[in-house]
């Protein structure tokens, strides 16, 4: 079996196995992952988990790595594949890491949001992230109790994590690039002397504005945070 045989079938794998979405090419899959990565990096709140996307990318990587095992070391083509795999892995782990960082930063609020989620609504957390958040909360509570709270007067021994840990600030400003044209986005005034106004977000244009205004557009992929 030659290198070309081993690898030529990588191009026509369907990426969306198990998803209702239309079939994505692997290239589109990677592009989606990179978008999710940047959005997660720059949004002030934790975004919806893209577990399915992560899974599909993992499948692609595993498949490619299996193919590569059959190739002798030092092969030029194989080294190019390894480089690409390294790059994709970097994005993937950086994406997952920035989610973990946000969970650590906002854990009580993340868990509260998960608790108040209506049945049938998609979860914001992957099962692993949910377990991580719960454990993080429990560990933090145990730790605070052990080092400080148990030495306090009884009426001061409890701590309301939801109040103690600051919430994500949705009023933060963000930089964004428009992927699909949007009309009449309401810009709220900053001061009493100003009046609210609307802007059209043209495709390809870049803006600096409050996250709260455009949060739904990040969620549905119409804008990309940069």
């Amino acid at each position: 079996r030659t290198m070309a045989d081993a690898l030529s079938d990588a191009g026509d794998l369907s990426g969306g196995e198990g998803s209702q979405d239309d079939v994505m090419t692997p290239a589109e899959l990677i592009a989606r992952l990179e978008e999710a990565w940047l959005n997660e990096k720059f949004s002030p709140e934790l975004l919806e988990s893209k577990s399915e996307l992560v899974e599909c990318v993992m499948e692609q990587l595993t498949h490619m790595e299996e193919n590569l095992q059959r190739v002798r070391k030092g092969d030029l083509k194989a080294s190019v594949h390894h480089m690409e795999i390294g790059r994709i892995r970097y994005v993937l782990s950086s994406y997952l890491r920035s989610r973990l960082q946000k969970i650590e930063k906002f854990f009580p609020h993340v868990l509260e949001k998960e608790k108040s989620r209506a049945d049938g609504d998609p979860s914001f957390l992957s099962p692993e992230e949910f377990a991580f958040a719960k454990e993080y909360l429990a560990n933090t509570e145990v730790y605070l109790k052990a080092v400080a709270l148990r030495h306090m007067p009884p009426n001061l021994q409890s701590i309301d994590m939801l109040k103690a840990i600051p919430e994500p600030c949705l009023d933060s400003f963000v930089f964004l690039r428009v992927k699909e044209r949007q009309e009449k986005i309401l810009v709220e005034p900053e001061t009493d002397e100003q009046r609210e106004y609307v802007v059209d977000l043209e495709e390809g244009s870049q803006h600096l504005m409050r996250y709260r205004t455009i949060a739904p557009l990040v969620a549905n992929g119409a804008v990309q945070l940069i």
């Binding site: 890491r97 960082q101 650590e104 930063k105 701590i159 109040k163 103690a164 840990i165 600051p166």
Partner: protein, 211 residues
């Protein structure tokens, strides 16, 4: 790469305070000039300058912000809180003329934080205070920005000397953006270094072996 495992909680800046923010904890220790509006029975020992058992009504004393917030109630007047000088009209005029000339570190160092916290005490001057604090921030913004962007590899102590704590935090954010870029530009960013944790661990292990 920004992979610190410990992320300090930032100060609340406005009227909210963050429980786990070191800056906010320090801010809560700032002393405020107060006047007692009723007798504080049995607490005379707090005031070292008097021998009486109680703190009489009308006593002037300085108490920390956290205590003042705890004792202050709008309906039942227990204490009244005076404005620290820097938020009074005289100083507000100075800030209005040129906010850049003021040494906010000496006058503060939590000028913005304490100013926001003072709004809890329902002074008739509240809206002027809030306006002045905001305009001071805006008026000094350019200078905070320029100093933070022009100081790579320089001694920055002079630049930050007169900045309030909030401005210093912004200064540091500006510096780290600039430093990261300049390290990248020089090609130093791509070198991975072992974290100090790992290095120390190795040292410890070595020390254990030698012991």
């Amino acid at each position: 790469m920004d992979t610190r495992s410990y992320m300090p909680v930032p100060p609340g800046v406005g009227t909210e305070e963050n429980v786990f923010s070191l800056d906010d904890i320090l801010l809560s220790q700032e002393r405020l000039p107060c006047r007692t509006e009723s007798v504080f029975p049995g607490l005379g020992f707090v005031d070292k300058s008097s021998d009486s058992r109680h703190i009489p009504e009308g006593t002037k004393m300085e108490i920390p912000l956290w205590l003042a917030k705890g004792l202050y109630e709008r309906k039942r007047r227990v204490i009244s809180v005076e404005l620290p000088r820097v938020y009074r009209e005289g100083w507000r005029t100075v800030f209005g003329a040129d906010a850049n000339v003021v040494d906010l570190h000496t006058m503060g160092p939590y000028y913005y934080g304490l100013g926001s916290q003072m709004l809890h005490f329902d002074s008739p001057e509240n809206s002027e205070i809030a306006q002045c604090v905001l305009q001071t921030f805006i008026g000094r913004f350019r200078r905070t920005m320029d100093s933070s962007q022009n100081a790579y590899n320089e001694d920055t102590s002079v630049l930050v000397e007169k900045l309030d704590c909030l401005e210093r935090a912004l200064f540091r954010a500006g510096q780290s953006g600039l430093n990261a870029f300049q390290l990248w530009e020089k090609g130093l960013a791509s070198h991975l270094t072992a974290s100090s944790l790992v290095t120390n661990y190795r040292k410890r292990k070595l020390a254990d072996l030698q012991a």
